[in-house]
Amino acid sequence: MPCWGCRAKSYNTKSVQKTGNEKNKNQSNLKNKPENNELGCAANISAKNISAGEYDYDLVVIGGGSGGLAAAKEATALGAKVAVLDYVTPSPIGTKWGLGGTCVNVGCIPKKLMHQAALLGESIHDAKSYGWQIGDNVSHSWESLRDAIQAHIKSVNWVTRVELRDKKVEYINGLGTFKDAHTVQTVTKQGERNLTARYFLIAVGGRPKYSNIPGALEYGITSDDIFSLNRVPGKTIIVGAGYIGLECAGFLKGLGYDATVMIRSVPLRGFDQQMAGIIVEEMRDKGVKFLHKCLPKSVEKLDSGKLKVSWVNEASEEFNDEFDTILFAIGRRALTKELNLENAGVKIAGDGEKIDAVNEQTNVSHIFAVGDVLYKKPELTPVAIHAGRLLARRLFGNSTINMDYDNVATTIFTPLEYGCVGISEEVAIKRYGEDNIEVYHGYYKPTEFFIPQKSIVHCYLKVVALREGDQKVLGLHFIGPQAGEVIQGFAAALKCNLTVNALMSTVGIHPTIAEEFTRINITKRSGKDPNPASCCS
C-alpha cells in the first residue's frame, strides 16, 4: 500500500514535540488565545466529551490538503466533531484532481517521481561505464510515466479517503465560503449547506499564477497540468526560475525534452544566491537553456500547432521562438479571494492575498490558518502538517506547544539536488555582520561519479556559522546527489544547536557524500582553494 507523507511524519512529530516543548513553553502567547473562554473549556474537559454545543461542528476545515487533513485527523482523534471541505477548481485547460491537496496531486509527489524518472535516465547512461551492456536505443515513454504517476496519485487519494472514513472525519466535496464568523456555506452535489462551527481552519493553499500576457491562459500550462499532460511536452519554455520552474526544467530535460528557462530577475529568490548560481550553472551544463532578465510578451498558436512565444530582454529587444509547451512557474496565489473573508472579519496581509497569523490564529480569535495560505511562512507540506497537528492539540488536547517555523530544512529536486537548512550566507551577514560569521566551504567528489566521469564541478557545500566560540551553525547548504537525504539528518542536529566544533568532531561514514559535512575545514575568509586535491581532474 502507498504510504502517505503525513502518516510517515507522525514519527518525527514526537521528537520535535519534545524539543519544542521546552523551547515553546514560555512562548505560549496569551494574547492570542480566544477572548471568550471556549478554548479553555475545550481544553479542560476530557477530550472525549467535547461537544459542538450550539454549533454543528467543533471544527470546520476549509481545504483538504496536507495541513487541513492533518489538523482534521488530529482534532477528531482528540474527540472533536470535524468536517473537511475540499474542492478543486479545474485549471484553465481543465485539469482537476482528487482529495489531498497540492503536494499529493500536483506537487511534491509527482514532482519527485518525475525527478526520479530523469535520474534513472542518467543512471542508464552511467551504467554502461559500470559494465552493463545496454543498447543504444534507450527511449522513454511520457505516457507510461504519466500513467504510472497518476495511478500512484489515485491510490494515495483512496488511502486518504479511507483514512478520513476510519477516523470519522466528515468529508464534504464542496467549495467553502464564509457567510458570517461562525458559518461556512458550501454547495455540493446534494445542494447548498450551511455549516456552523466553534472553530474554523483556513487551509486552502494556493494555485499557480499566469503571466498577464496575450495567450497565457489559452495556451499556457502550469505545474497543475504538467504531471497529467495528455501529450508529450516536447520543446518547452518555462517562465519563472523559482524552485518549481527549475525542477520542471530539470526533469523535462532529463526525460529528453528541450527545456528553456526564462528568468525575470534572479533564480531561486529567497535561497542562498551563491548556491542558486551553482544550480543554474549545473543545469546549463546538462543542456537547459536560460534567458536571463527577460519578460514574456505574448503567446500565439501557429497553424502548425506550435506556440510562438515572444519576449523582451533588459534592453527592450524583442525575440521569439517556437515551442510545443509554455509552462508558467511565476509564483502561486493564495486562494483567499474565494473565501469571502470579509463576512467573517478576517483580515488579509499586506500582500493583498495571504493571511497573517500568530500561532496560526487570525485576527478573528476562533478562525485559524495553516499551510501555504500563511503570510511569510515556508510553503512546505511538512510545515503545514506539523502546524495543523500542533494547532489541533492546542484547541482540543490541552497542549500549549506552538509551531516553530525556524530551521525548517528543504530540498530543491533539480538534477543535482540542493538541500539546505537554516539561513543563507547573505541573511547571516545581514543579521550578524560579516565580521561575526564564518563560512566553511568545499567542493567534493562523490566516489560514484568517477567511473562514469560525471562532472564534479558543482558538487559543493557550505556551513554558515557564528565566528565566536564553538561556532554555532546558522545554516547548512549542500549541492549534490540525494541532497534531501543528506540534509534531513543535519536538520535535526541544527535543532539541537549544532556547532562547527561538534561537526568537526563527528566521524564520517566513508565513502558517503554526507560525510563531507564532517570534513569541512576551509573558511572563505582564509582565501584557500576549496577544491579537493585530485589526480587528473
Binding site: M1, Q150, A151, H152, K154, S155, W158, V162, R165, D166
Partner: protein, 136 residues
C-alpha cells in the same frame, strides 16, 4: 496451445449459454456494476451468492487478481457470478461495506455480507474459498 483454445472456447460458450439462461436472472458470469441501483438489483437483491470484486484501475494487485478470478469462475460454469465495483466510480459503496484495502472480494447473499477475502490470492486459494461458499 490446444488446451488453451479449448478452455477459452468453452468459456465463451459458457458465457453464451449463461446469457440465454439469464433472461430470467441476470446474475451469472462477470459484470461491472454501473451504479447504486444496479448494485441493489444485481447484488443486494440476489438470492444466490454473488462475489463483489472491489477494484481500482490503478491497483496492480487488482489487475493480477482479475484473470485468476475469471478462470476460477469460468470453471464453476455459472454457479456463482462476479460483480465488479470500481471504487473510484462507486466510492460510497466501498464506504458502505467498509472496504479499505483492495482488491477486496466480498460475498453477498440475500442482501447480507457472507464472506470477505482481502488482497491478492492465487488460484488454489480462490478455488478453495469459492468451494466453501458454494457448500454453504
Amino acid at each position: 496451445m490446444n488446451t488453451l483454445i479449448t478452455r477459452s472456447l468453452s468459456r465463451q460458450f459458457g458465457a453464451l449459454g449463461r446469457r440465454t439462461l439469464a433472461t430470467t436472472q441476470l446474475k451469472s458470469g462477470s459484470f461491472k456494476v454501473q451504479d447504486d441501483k444496479d448494485f441493489i438489483d444485481k447484488v443486494e437483491n440476489s438470492k444466490e451468492p454473488v462475489i463483489v470484486d472491489f477494484f481500482a484501475t490503478w491497483c496492480g494487485p487488482c489487475k493480477a487478481l482479475e484473470p485468476r478470478l475469471e478462470n476460477v469462475i469460468a470453471q464453476r460454469k455459472g454457479d456463482i457470478s462476479v460483480a465488479k465495483v470500481d471504487i473510484d466510480d462507486l466510492g460510497e459503496l466501498a464506504a458502505k461495506y467498509e472496504v479499505s484495502t483492495i482488491p477486496a472480494l466480498v460475498v453477498f447473499q440475500n442482501g447480507k455480507v457472507k464472506e470477505r477475502l482481502v488482497g491478492l490470492q492465487d488460484e488454489d486459494k480462490l478455488n478453495l474459498w469459492i468451494d466453501n461458499i458454494l457448500k454453504k
